[in-house]
Amino acid sequence: MIMIFGIPAPLLFGQLLLGLINGAFYAMLSLGLAVIFGMLNIINFAHGALFMMGAFAAWMLLQYCGIGYFPALIVAPLIIGAFGILLEKTLIRHMYKLDHLYGLLLTFGLSLVIEGLFRNYYGSSGLPYQIPHVLEGAANLGFMFLPVYRGWVVAAALVVCFATWAILEKTSLGATLRAATENAQLVQAFGVDVPRVITLTFGGGVALAAFAGVLAAPIYSVNPNMGDNFINTVFAVVVIGGMGSILGAILTGFGLGVIEGLTKVFWPQASATVVFVVMVIVLLTMPRGLFGKRA
């Protein structure tokens, strides 16, 4: 057996892969948070709850409508994105004129309501969601076995992250969006319907969380607390990366996932806290975050 740093290679690569998968979720979630924050100046505390709703939407689509995994990857984000738009239209829009912290409190309240309702109707034990047949099994890469589904998750997350990046940085829609982030009044004067742009941005960020939720459904059991487990770490990721940059959010997400995976190999007890330790170090050395803009 090949050994690396006295660790069997399959174990090392296995944990690395697990880290990459967690990193994929961190990246998708912190990306959504960063996009929403950029446009709405609100930290969406309900992001974890919406991620969970994405997973539940996939489960329900299969259970009640017989719609399988791949259609669900598109349909669930659309449904939850629409729900996000509804939230923005009815509740969140009242927060824009207020202190940013009220947005945090409102979305925190929303996450309590959503998670409480799901816990009430579906319990907290978790519901199974099968891996689709095409993605079952494992591929032998020579140095390790790669479960196909896990490889798929990392690949899909990478594609979605970079697609988001490309839309924001390389298209005219993205240019409008970035301009509205910088100076909403001026963009409005140019005839852009800024409130609609804001609504759609929120919907988009939420859809991203829901997409991550569908990807997560077969890996973690679908349960009301699944977002809870992620969201705190994702906040730390956001603090580390700084919310100024889209690429920064993606890189930080994946990077921290890998660091977490490696810690699991060398010092398992510390793996739950390593992200927070990194956050402390970053705060001490560069308080604005790795990719943060200067104020």
Partner: protein, 330 residues
């Protein structure tokens, strides 16, 4: 921060200050509060255990209010101090057999020490980032408590004896425990009030209103914020320690971030930056939990809904609204 503390303008503008920095209406409210606490000790109208829980929560919320209401920083990690204070108080009284007061003070010292470390890191940022950093740091404390041997992991520290006060008074009687909790609460409440109305507290308010200006006047604003954070976390530790001893148990729930959320809700519902808001909020939130406990997850749903309603329509909170209606700073 200015929007969050609008309700507070009333307090700043009330000119007449009497005993202990209380304005006359505040003094009246304080006397009513103390009378209620004392009367309930003599003729228990409400279940003493319930009231003790309200008082612990009220002290916790007063401590939290010191940060949000007067420094303008929203901490989403106060459960770390509350929970760790509880663990240390429970552990010392159970295994070291210390006096109840010593255990509670050790809980407070733990809160303060932890507050020094977490506060030192968190005050580097403000606003939303401060909230996220405190949340993340408290999550780290939570994971530590989950793994550390002395906390008992998922089981917590159970069957904690209440012990004796000054080695004499047996606290196993709810009545005697009640007086201890009441005394701790009133002392903590007055301490917070004293801090706010001290020259130190005035500087805190100046920082909240305009930090660059406070800096230009020569104040080391970071030091002031850190000291306020330590005081706040110390009192949270005292509240947590007291609660652990009253209920004879210290568990992970008290370090979990839902407890941080609960203290935010308590203070928001009562009125951010008001003197009596946290107390009223604690009574309402604890009563709500008590009566809804049988409905399981509906507690969370209701709490979330109250959050949403408060933020949308009711930002001054109960006491803030009453104060605004009566044109008084309560």
């Amino acid at each position: 921060m200015s929007e969050m503390t609008h309700a507070h303008g009333l307090i700043a503008s009330s000119r007449t200050r009497g005993w202990f920095g209380f304005s006359n209406p505040q003094l009246f409210a304080f006397v009513v509060l103390v009378t209620l606490i004392v009367l309930n000790g003599i003729w228990p109208l409400l279940y003493p255990i319930f009231l003790m829980r309200v008082l612990c929560m009220a002290l916790f919320a007063c401590a939290f209010n010191l940060m949000i209401g007067y420094v303008g920083l929203l901490s989403f990690g106060h459960a770390a101090f509350f929970g760790m204070g509880g663990y240390v108080a429970a552990w010392t009284i159970k295994f070291w057999h210390v006096d109840a007061v010593v255990a509670i003070l050790l809980g407070g010292a733990t809160g303060a020490a932890l507050g020094l470390v977490l506060g030192y890191l968190a005050i580097r940022r403000s606003g939303i980032y401060f909230a996220m950093i405190t949340l993340a740091l408290a999550q780290m404390v939570y994971f530590f408590c989950l793994e550390a041997p002395f906390t008992g992991g998922e089981d917590g520290i159970q069957q904690v004896p209440r012990g004796h006060l000054f080695g004499v008074i047996n606290l196993n009687h709810d009545a005697s425990m009640y007086w201890v909790v009441a005394a701790i609460f009133i002392a903590g409440f007055l301490l917070v009030h004293r801090i706010i109305h001290s020259p130190f507290g005035q500087v805190l308010k100046a920082i909240r209103e305009n930090e660059p200006r406070a800096t230009s006047l020569g104040y080391r604003t970071d030091d002031y914020k850190l000291i306020a954070f330590i005081l706040s976390s110390m009192l949270s530790g005292v509240a947590g320690g007291t609660k652990a001893i009253v209920f004879g148990i210290a568990t992970l729930t008290d370090v979990h971030y839902s407890t941080s959320g609960e203290v935010v809700l308590t203070t928001l519902l009562g009125g951010l930056g008001t003197v009596f808001g946290p107390v009223v909020g604690a009574a309402v939130v604890t009563a709500m939990e008590n009566y809804l406990a049988q409905f399981g997850s509906w507690v969370t749903v209701t709490q979330g809904a109250v959050f949403v309603i408060c933020v949308l329509a009711f930002r001054r909170g109960i006491v803030g609204e009453i104060g605004a209606a009566l044109k008084l700073g309560l």
